[in-house]
């Protein structure tokens, strides 16, 4: 539905970048599923790309916004390659198959795909372990809730989101053993009208802390503030401004260093296709600044948990763990690690919601 706009944006981007084509420069193409000013996922990604440009002088960046996760994405990638791009950063899960199709046709172009699970010789993936940061955010939520009911608004039940919901509940439970997390899915990465309805419905049901994995959480954070409940953001720390009272903290992506490393490896010829995953220690993501109501005690607990995770002393998914249907998913003596980002298909007990 957004064809007109992304075509326009692409045309403008390509036109302005076009002047530099004469030199055989390094050209990187990046696809965004939404607007780079969404105070969310796409803005965080755009800021990472800006940092990449700063870190590698002479690099030409082609960015296209609002690219649908469909065959349209293939055309955008083809156009970028026509304009000299040798690296394509496909920054949304739904670009997985379109990018693989284009990768098969252009073996000399390297594709970096966010959060996917498929690989090809010239197609690798990257992702920050959002569940670790969500666990830490869960501690803040568990300490803040009065009703013991948390809300989690998201788009689709896909593995890395399910893992984040589970970790959020586990983090909250360290502060309040009886806390529950209610999940609502909007079936869209961006639909502010449904997101506002979800906040209201959750608040009506007694939820007093809400978090989200949606692309542009502005409406959720602002509606939560209007309802007088607390919020935990996602993607970008620019969000805090929309909830001066209710803001607790947030999970913010900081992609710049990772992009720089991957691009340098590709240029040096040392890059190999694979799944690059990093946790809270990697710097791919961080916890955003705390809001005014978070106590020093809670901050200290979060800092300790973070240090323990990095030191390997704290394992978030330590068995026995049951899902919310009562099945044992991680047995006693076993633990779930970063592979859960790509394999989780269950919701932990204490979560009210459906995993499929």
């Amino acid at each position: 539905m957004s064809r007109t706009k992304f075509a326009l944006t692409l045309a403008l981007t390509l036109a302005t970048a076009g002047q530099a084509w004469a030199d055989p420069k390094l050209v990187v193409g990046a696809l965004h599923v939404g607007s780079i000013k969404d105070a969310g996922y796409n803005q965080a990604s755009h800021e990472g790309l800006e940092q990449l440009k700063k870190n590698i002088p002479g690099l030409t960046l082609l960015e296209a916004e609002n690219v649908p996760e469909s065959a349209d994405a293939e055309r955008v990638m083809e156009q970028m390659i026509n304009k000299g791009a040798t690296i394509i950063i496909a920054q949304s899960f739904g670009y997985q198959d379109p990018a693989l199709n284009v990768a098969a046709k252009h073996p000399k172009v390297t594709f970096l795909h966010a959060s996917g699970f498929k690989l090809a010789p010239n197609f690798g993936t990257f992702w920050g372990n959002n569940f670790e940061a969500m666990y830490l955010a869960g501690i803040a939520a568990g300490a803040a809730t009065q009703t013991g009911k948390l809300g989690f608004i998201t788009a689709f039940p896909i593995p890395n989101i399910l893992a984040s919901i589970n970790a959020f509940e586990l983090g909250a439970r360290t502060q309040n053993a009886k806390v529950t997390t209610t999940v609502t899915y909007n079936n869209a990465w961006v639909d502010p009208v449904k997101e506002a309805a979800a906040v209201n419905a959750l608040a009506d049901a007694g939820v007093d802390v809400v978090t989200m994995i949606t692309d542009s959480p502005i409406t959720i954070v602002k509606t939560a503030e209007a309802r007088g409940i607390k919020s935990i953001g996602f993607h970008s720390d620019a969000l805090a401004a929309f909830a001066p009272k209710g803001w607790l903290t947030g999970v913010a992506y900081t992609w710049g260093d990772l992009y720089t490393k991957l691009v340098k490896d590709i240029v040096a010829g040392t890059w190999r296709s694979g799944h690059v995953r990093g946790g809270i220690e990697s710097g791919y993501l961080k916890l955003a600044a705390f809001g005014p109501s978070v106590t020093a005690e809670t901050k200290a607990r979060i800092a300790k948990a973070q240090a323990d995770i990095i030191a390997g002393k704290l394992v978030i998914f330590r068995g026995p763990i049951k899902d919310n249907a009562g099945n044992l998913v991680i047995p006693e003596g076993k633990a779930g690690g970063i592979e859960l980002l790509d394999s989780t298909n269950w919701l932990i007990e204490g979560v009210i919601g459906q995993a499929k």
């Binding site: 539905m1 706009k5 607007s35 009208v193 506002a196 209201n200 009506d204 542009s216 009210i352 459906q354």
Partner: protein, 305 residues
């Protein structure tokens, strides 16, 4: 618990039904003039983006609403030269209008992405807002919600109780006969397009100023098409658009409400609900509404077949 569920659901249903109500009310006027505008989605997007832009630049919600009304009306008028003056295919022209609205709103709305406005806040009705169960459902809504019933009555009155409405309906039934009887058919159809557009613009403004408090590309997410279906549900009667909008708003709200209350239903199935209801309702109402369709509309489908 069931009572709380019902309360939350109804309050959500009223909010969700308001934008589709205004859009469908506007489209009812247009269709009573024997025209069909499939571009309501585009007009809503223009209203949503213009109202947001004006409200955020001027700081005035009222100016934002006024701008949405004017922009929506003007945008719908673009159909005039095509379908009224030159007799172009209405279905294709309407779709073109939709794409134009999507493109224009996305392009000119771009500077406003990632910003917010306070917009239309809930306006509790003194006394009634504190009623035990009904208060939160009916009397803690925004001004545009309260204006739905008066607007439905006003449009009904305009169509049924004024000579302008009589002429407009005559044009919608048979424009040649109306022309022969001395009606200014072209002017009337342009007036219907304009008025319909003002209401669709208002519908868009409700989405951006009262619900989302932000602007993103494609904010309407298909609600303009639901509004077109609603006109058929309402059997081209402004008063019947109201319960129709509530039904559709109710299914939209139910999706979220069921999840927030922990119902054991797959989110994918819930997402189909509004469309299933649309199908069921259209099948059910096919016969009931057949006789009420403005005769002139049939020409649209026959000429494009």
């Amino acid at each position: 618990m069931p009572s709380e569920f019902l309360q939350g659901w109804l309050a959500g249903a009223i909010v969700a039904s308001t934008p589709i109500f205004y859009a469908a009310l506007g489209e009812t006027l247009v269709e009573r003039a024997g025209l069909i505008n499939l571009g309501v989605e585009g007009t809503m997007l223009v209203g949503a983006s213009v109202s947001f832009a004006v409200a955020s630049v001027t700081g005035s919600t009222l100016l934002g609403l006024a701008a949405a009304v004017l922009a929506g009306g003007a945008f719908n008028l673009l159909l005039g030269p095509l379908v009224v003056a030159r007799g172009a295919n209405q279905l294709a022209s309407g779709l073109a209008l939709m794409f134009l609205g999507q493109g224009l709103s996305a392009y000119y709305g771009k500077p406003f992405v990632g910003t917010t406005v306070d917009g239309l806040a809930p306006l509790p009705v003194p006394g009634l807002a504190s009623l035990p169960w009904l208060g939160p459902i009916l009397f803690r809504q925004d001004a545009l919600v309260y204006l739905t019933v008066p607007c439905a009555l006003a449009v009904w009155g305009l169509l049924q109780r004024t000579s302008w409405g009589l002429h407009l309906r005559a044009v919608g039934e048979d424009r040649l006969v109306a022309y022969a009887a001395g009606s200014r058919t072209g002017l009337l159809r342009h007036q219907a397009l304009f008025l319909g557009g003002t209401l669709a613009g208002l519908a868009g403004a409700h989405l951006s100023l009262a619900i989302a408090h932000t602007w993103t590309e494609g904010l309407t997410a298909g609600r303009g098409f639901i509004a077109v279906a609603l006109v058929i549900f309402g059997a081209w009667n402004p008063l019947r658009v109201l319960p129709g909008a509530l039904l559709f708003g109710g299914t939209l709200a139910l999706q979220i409400q069921l999840q927030a209350r922990g119902a054991q239903v797959s989110p994918f199935l819930l997402d189909m609900l509004p469309y299933l209801v649309t199908l069921a309702v259209l099948v059910q109402l096919r016969k009931a509404s057949r006789g009420r369709m403005p005769e002139g509309l049939k020409e649209v489908f026959e000429s494009s077949a």
